[in-house]
Symmetry: D2
């Protein structure tokens, strides 16, 4: 790859900390082993022609005064960020965090500044990674990406790719739009779904099952208050047959525990009945680094988006569909080549 | 089904206790709901035209003096059998346990008695379910089945279907031979394999994994001493890619605990590494009724065998392949219609 | 004991279901074994001269229209009560639930009816067991008990025994007042406290610890919304040394899961450091029948109270102190013999 | 402490690795914080006047050719030792491992060499830490310690302090003898005993309980074969009341898992019954660094022994009693001041 992937990022939280540090981590490994193949923890060492090491952050936006004006490499460690420091030292990016979009009353400001920074940086893709629940912010960054001629990747459950008019706007400009809401690389849903699936495939009777998640990052602090929508999407993610979903309960955030930092713990139970009505049970505890689980998917989403942008394939990128929780329906997602 | 499936059983242990009680359990349910469909805990309420309720035990063999001469319904509760009593009352079968094959020195005796009992009972299939490790006994019952004109189902890891000469002898007589070694309906291997599979499919790095099993039935008492061959077959059952099998350890019997009776507990751990080298872990505890897990598969194996016997399809029954741990290789398993 | 203990109960929830059914359960055992000694699950088969079988419910109050006018034995199974049915059949008590105190606007009504019912029933002790959070109701039943000449046991965290004026009113009349807030017979706090205590006694370093509780009864549904005060009392219950309490987090209700019914599950983790800074960890899962844990303590509290009432020892009963989470301070608790 | 504690060690396994590295670890911390107080992971930063940092290894014995002649700091990392490296670098001790006692046929050789090395090193205490099961070796090192004028600490279940004649020989020479078999600093027994104790204290009924241990060091490899004596001592360690011990099963080594290295995992289950016969259960998983658990106790045993030696208090040291699994009975243990 002659030209690195030029990435702008909005929202300098744990996901960006994981992304920045992880890219550096893999660069060191590639340098040591002299090849980009076989990088532990990655689904695709090379995707759409881009190695992990080809990703370069060229612009960054946030509204935290402790992050603005600071090199991205330092900004990712500003609290409440609490993703671990995975290397003794991370090199500076030379890219300072720029003040992002703000909402005062009903007015959103800062578009000029953001668009200008993206243009100057020649950003190809904008990664939207703010806390969940800020539809106005996503709408604002959508405008900025369109104005700056960049594709967009939306990590959050807010709607961008699911809005037909937004999808068309990107398609019309030959810009990729990848979203909405990323699926974890290895999360509670896939494990829970697999176990329930085996149970039912083999003719056993599901009596009850629960999944409860706890964690120590800002997502968990927010979810605790506002978990209802997340709950529905988590139960949907289990793909249960008719009838079975009544017997499964999911608690997306059972609690915020500061001591867990960016770790997420899922506790699951399955009670079933087999031959002769005799019982069986499974208890499982899954512990993951929450933002690593996101970054391991983000790295693929941005490469899908950048390849489409370079290729002038506007709109949704089908290759990314399985990596998303809420992609647009098939019929409206068709991108057009400009 | 006009004619019930006439089954002879050798070895009146927990598996037969589960089978006999389970068949009664499902008969009660069918009677209550007026149909054989939707029986909880069963893969196939009806298979090859046989409902679960169509299975009738017509002959039974064991060498325990406390079981010989006793109705099968009572014999299944004689210690060391410790499968639970799943109904308040089970009806008598009217079939008394007959003394089975014995080995004195190098001489195996009792063939006449067994063959005679099977012929008088018009048994269609002989289910071999003795403790593991008695190849001489399996060889003896193979002879008896052939002589009595019955098919054979071998639940144990001993070799019958994997012996080409035995397979040919059954094929030549138009008798079905189903074996060897049944796969559990819902066991540790399938769960462990699924979790390791997801981990590796998604690009995460497997650091280490273990599975340790404990239980309170005679299998666990025997395994503790003699676990090496079982270990290899359990690791094979995980279907691991090259390289990964070094990082997985399985202990088929970590201990015999009388307090667990016929329950089996599997404890598994998986340690992995994801994006940026950050770690993840899974700890799982699976508790099952060990012999229910067997009976839920036996019920299908005997129906496959009986249908083939009635149809004069001799040799291995392909439909049963996925329910067995050590079926004969594809090329030698071809049955012939007599 | 010639005279049975005459108990009135306010709030016919799971605790009363456990109490009523448990008393019947132990009566059956006593009858079978011919003695009240060695009753499994009980701290004190006989206490203050009362056997468990001596407790008789003589009056009962609730505001649920589906419970009013119904025999207590039936009322305890009215939803949302979900304590299990522990015997095939429970004998009727002959005592119908009477409409309890109500609040309309700022006015509490029903005192006459309650006092009258207690007097007619010659109740010696009133057990207050309404949902948490209804201080007005506790205040009302306090008045009723005083007027009817009965002692009071307060199971809830609301204040009765901690109010000096209330304590004096009972003391002045020679009536016992036992409260506030019962400690579970075998709960998460005692287990968590024991493990943390061992760790620190032996010189190991506590890094972090959490406890998260889930359940399916009404307490859990309420707690989820209103957990802050409970949280503080749960952390206090751990008796941690200075400094250590910062490292321990407790979530009294991580979630309401209907499938758990009246079961409560506590999940605990302890991370520590030993010799040379090497790490150790404990993960624990405790599953209990929540209301059995209460009834096993209530049975002692009411016997302490009734013995004091018969003996004209007014005020707090010191013997009950260790069974309560928030007893009155020692100096104000001194009862007086009238 | 002007004079460091001069320690000889026999058996350069994981325990000595933990001891040597741990002492260096604490020296670094003491140096940083300028005081020996408040060392995390230690019961007693200073004991009998000795700080942890005062312990110096002055002689070392082993029979592994890969360890003989090597500096102790390097010898502790020779396989099968697998205690982790807890610091980037450990300073050399300058003490080379000397060939220890050997048994050829029925003859034990090497006493001269060992005695000579101890005398030249002016060792005050000999720490015996060979694999379990080698009574002949312990007997030999007992002779050596007596001849060299050193006290002895026996970490293993073999008998030294429980042999009256050995105890008298040490007492007569004014030399301390501390043993036998050290109790872990924080192990499965103390946790299991605490939980069972709470259960029974509170009147709950114990139905059944098990404890199963797995690990990856040489102890676990040996135990798997030879666990019977260990089993008895582990059940004794639970201090169960009459009757309860039938319901508790302990498996000292459920398996050797190389992937665990020097970690030990204990899995425990407790099933009980409370009020009304309703059930409760505890499942617990304890993970510890096995040899840290030993070193944290060894550090106290050797300080007790050395202080007694300097003070000419011969025989058993009472202060160490609670740190041992099999100390001599009280009546025979009385040391005498020479």
């Amino acid at each position: 790859m002659t030209h690195p992937l030029r990435l702008a990022v909005a929202g300098i939280g744990n996901n960006i900390s994981a992304l920045v540090q992880g890219i550096h981590h893999y660069r060191m490994i590639i340098q040591q082993q002299g090849a980009a193949s076989d990088l532990p923890g990655l689904r695709n060492p090379v995707l759409e022609g881009f190695s992990v090491a080809d990703v370069e952050i060229v612009a960054a936006f946030d509204v935290d005064p402790n992050k603005i004006g600071v090199d991205v490499t330092d900004a990712v460690f500003v609290p409440p960020n609490n993703y671990p420091r995975i290397a003794v030292e991370n090199p500076k990016t030379g890219v300072m965090v720029v003040e992002g979009l703000r909402k005062e009353g009903d007015v959103v400001t800062g578009h000029e500044r953001v668009i200008d920074a993206m243009k100057r940086a020649k950003a190809e893709v904008l990664l939207y990674s703010l806390p969940t629940g800020l539809q106005w912010a996503l709408d604002g960054y959508v405008e900025c990406a369109l104005a700056a001629g960049a594709g967009l990747v939306n990590c959050t459950p807010e709607s961008a790719a699911r809005k037909p008019e937004t999808l068309h706007a990107f398609a019309a400009k030959g810009l990729a739009l990848v979203g909405d809401d990323l699926a974890s690389q290895f999360g509670a849903s896939v494990v829970h779904r697999a176990l329930l699936g085996i149970l039912m495939d083999r003719g056993l009777d599901l009596i009850s099952s629960y999944q409860i998640n706890i964690g120590g990052n800002e997502d968990f602090r927010n979810l605790r208050e506002n978990g209802a929508s997340k709950l529905r999407s988590k139960i949907n993610a289990l793909n249960l047959p008719n009838g079975a979903s009544d017997r499964v309960e999911v608690i997306p955030s059972g609690g915020y525990l500061a001591q867990l930092y960016d770790n997420k713990i899922s506790m699951m139970n399955i009670e079933g009945r087999g031959w002769g009505g005799t019982s069986l049970s499974i208890d499982l505890r899954l512990k993951v680094q929450d933002s690593s689980n996101a970054a391991g998917v983000i790295i693929d989403l941005i490469r899908f988006a950048a390849a489409a942008v370079r290729d002038h394939r506007g709109g949704f990128v089908e290759g990314a569909r399985s990596l998303l929780k809420s992609p647009p329906p098939m019929e409206v997602a068709v991108g057009e080549r400009r």
